[in-house]
Symmetry: C2
Subunit: 440 residues, 2 copies
């Protein structure tokens, strides 16, 4: 019987593992809860109306259809028996494995205040992105119809919690929406009245970046009328706004109908279960501390890659939860499995996983980005062009690349955002303002 | 004070009315529940994974942003006082008007069995289209994992209720999905096992088309493995399938996890309220019987255009509920208002509304369509090319035309459907099969 490799998750880690097993003499099964691979780095563009979900998603079956040794299954893994080497799905089905690659990722962390999620969606799934899109564009619509100045001001106040890459990208896009996209479009409000505030408890934004680049990013955000408040914590989020606590201990209530969450992540769901069943060492956030070969200590047949794992880089600091780490981890796990298969039970000494850090890049707006790449610190147009090129290059499927390229071209020329539909429901829709019929 | 024109609805009727009032010396307000114009004729392509919602929607504000005499409001009209000439919105706001153009359309009609809607979504909104998309592609995923042959067969059985243009287009697209798109993608099932059945109580499909074209359409559908059952009524729809009653009176239970509704329409909501408040004559389906100038008898300041109105064409039969009728009606109402404004209270004799029938066209699949155009009956490739050209031409906004054209090009060359995401929830998700996390 062929060696059975099961991969959990079709994100960057899982998909690149599957692709790297293309020619492996193994029976590969990729299980995901979704039928598509999501190109997460561009999800903020769906949330801000630049791209449609279809543009940044690739059906997993279609990506892997020609890979004859691989099957794709839609399913949600609930539990694992690491000694019997079986997985059980939530619907009761069980799947045995010989080697397992777990790439189920992480979830947004609300500092233990999960009730905030209702008012402050984060940016992890397509559904959350369209919810954020709903909230942003609905807020301007509601403001246009609101006659009370205070309530109007609350509709036009946007708070982004978290000053990492996602927060910076969301804030920059919001600034461009207020300044450029919606220009000429309203008759009662001026979209420039929008107040966009980015808060983070850390001493500055983009902590993962060198200080000079973070300063450049803040400059670019200021030009887009985004105010950055570092060292500020959020102590409350509800339907009407946020409560902020400043470093001095002073608290302030800020009425805001749109609060977006770009805070940290933690491990929950199957990731936690896996940690418990294998007694794996975990970080405080629940991330599994893997061995240098990305396996769980004591379980050489279970690889953990991407956002679920934590492992120190060469500088001793944990590797960041970015696509590059996941892709390289997935490919490494696949190579390790192939090497073991070739050794036919003999000893295999694979060098430990080594992350090739190609840098970091965050986009703020049109011709505005910051990048640390090949040891260089770039900002402005050069960084932005690098960003464009990298994202187009790594987008899965050629069709998506063409569609995204064209939409960026249109947006660059016309400042328009063609995909800014208000669909579905958003949790803070004010009941007194009517929104679309939601029978379905 | 300027003459106040209020337009209700941003579909084909309302949008074309607004555009025709571009230079009118009037204060124009367009109110819609959605912030976008939906190009309804291509909605079935969203439902079948060819296009993304953003590709066929145009933000109303963006379309009308340069039209200085026009404002757009997001709102849901609840009631009207036709004597005081005021509208009240569901949130309590009121808007006065001097002239009113009502283009709020119609709703899917479930023969009075509204509970069927849960199991058999229709194709009226973006949300319904993505629900249908979910159901179609989820059914294949569920079948792939189902081991019981009978349940697997139910997952692979698709029933389309209604043999009009929408039904034919959905059925044809489903056939192409089973034959082409999903080829090579599954390991347990063969997508060709899918049974696609289109039923209609009428004696044949496409009753609005000449008989020879309907026969051609049925031939094309057969090639796509779609079986057409005319003269068959649906007497029950539930979670597990449909009950059919044949002309002979025999009933048959058909297990099917995917039932799509392409039946008739009726008037509900504000359309009914308007009819009641103005004592307007209505058809059995609730459509308002308008005067030859598209106004409500006794209310020369209220125009009703598009799908909400019914009016006889030259042959005495009611005009169909198609985009062309709505567009021409909207433009006619706008011209009538402008003519009255020019007459400054003097008498205006506008010729009655006359519909320029440019024909009918329905697409079945690749190089397969039927068309009645300029008195010609076309089918196959010529009809399909005409269809392509017309739909691209009438799509609102240039960017949408480019995006749709490119996606059709890719689909033509590769048979792929890039937008086939399973997102959100679908009502018949079987609880024993796990589907995406739905916290939001």
């Amino acid at each position: 019987m062929q060696h059975r490799v099961v991969i959990l998750g079709g994100g960057f880690g899982g998909l690149y593992a599957a692709l790297a097993l293309r020619k492996a003499p193994a029976e590969v099964t990729l299980i995901d809860r979704r039928n598509f691979h999501l190109f997460q780095p561009l999800l903020y563009q769906v949330a801000t109306g630049s791209l449609s979900p279809g543009d940044i998603c690739a059906p997993l079956r279609s990506v892997l259809s020609r890979q004859k040794n691989t099957r794709v299954l839609l399913g949600d893994v609930a539990d694992i028996d690491p000694n019997a080497r079986t997985l059980s799905l939530r619907d009761g089905a069980t799947y045995p494995y010989d080697s397992l690659i777990v790439a189920t990722g992480s979830e947004s962390f609300y500092f233990g205040k999960d009730q905030w999620r209702v008012w402050a969606p984060s940016l992890k799934s397509v559904e959350e992105a369209t919810t954020i899109r709903h909230k942003i564009f609905y807020a301007f619509e509601a403001a246009e119809r609101e006659t009370d100045p205070e309530r109007r001001r609350a509709w036009l106040t946007f708070v982004i919690v978290g000053g990492g890459t996602t927060g910076v990208e969301l804030a920059g896009a919001l600034g461009e929406i207020a300044i450029h996209t919606l220009k000429h479009e309203f008759r009662s409000i001026n979209p420039l009245e929008a107040r966009i505030l980015m808060v983070d408890g850390a001493p500055r934004l983009l902590m993962a970046y060198p200080e000079d680049l973070a300063a450049r990013a803040e400059e670019s955000l200021l030009k887009l009328r985004v105010r950055v408040r570092a060292g500020v914590n959020v102590t409350e989020v509800d339907d009407d706004g946020v409560t902020l606590r400043f470093g001095s201990g002073v608290t302030e209530r800020l009425p805001a109908k749109t609060v977006l969450w770009a805070g940290g992540v933690h491990v929950a769901g199957f990731g936690s279960t896996l940690g418990a069943r294998t007694n794996a060492p975990t970080a405080r956030s629940g991330h599994i501390k893997v061995a240098p070969d990305l396996t769980i200590p004591g379980y050489p047949d279970i690889f953990v890659v991407g956002d679920l794992a934590t492992i120190a880089g060469r500088d001793g600091k944990p590797l960041p939860g970015v696509a590059q780490v996941a892709m390289q981890g997935g490919a490494y796990a696949a190579r390790a499995i192939v090497a073991r298969l070739k050794a036919r039970g003999g000893t295999v000494s694979l060098p430990p996983f080594h992350y090739h850090d190609r840098g970091d890049i965050a986009v703020i707006g049109r011709a505005a980005a910051v990048a640390r790449i090949f040891g260089l610190h770039l900002h402005g147009l050069p960084a932005w062009l690098v960003w464009l090129f990298i994202h187009l290059m790594y987008l899965v499927q050629f069709q998506n690349r063409v569609l995204v390229f064209i939409q960026w071209g249109f947006q660059y020329l016309t400042f328009s955002r063609g995909a800014r539909l208000i669909t579905g429901t958003a949790p803070t829709d004010s009941p007194q303002l009517l929104y679309p019929d939601q029978r379905l």
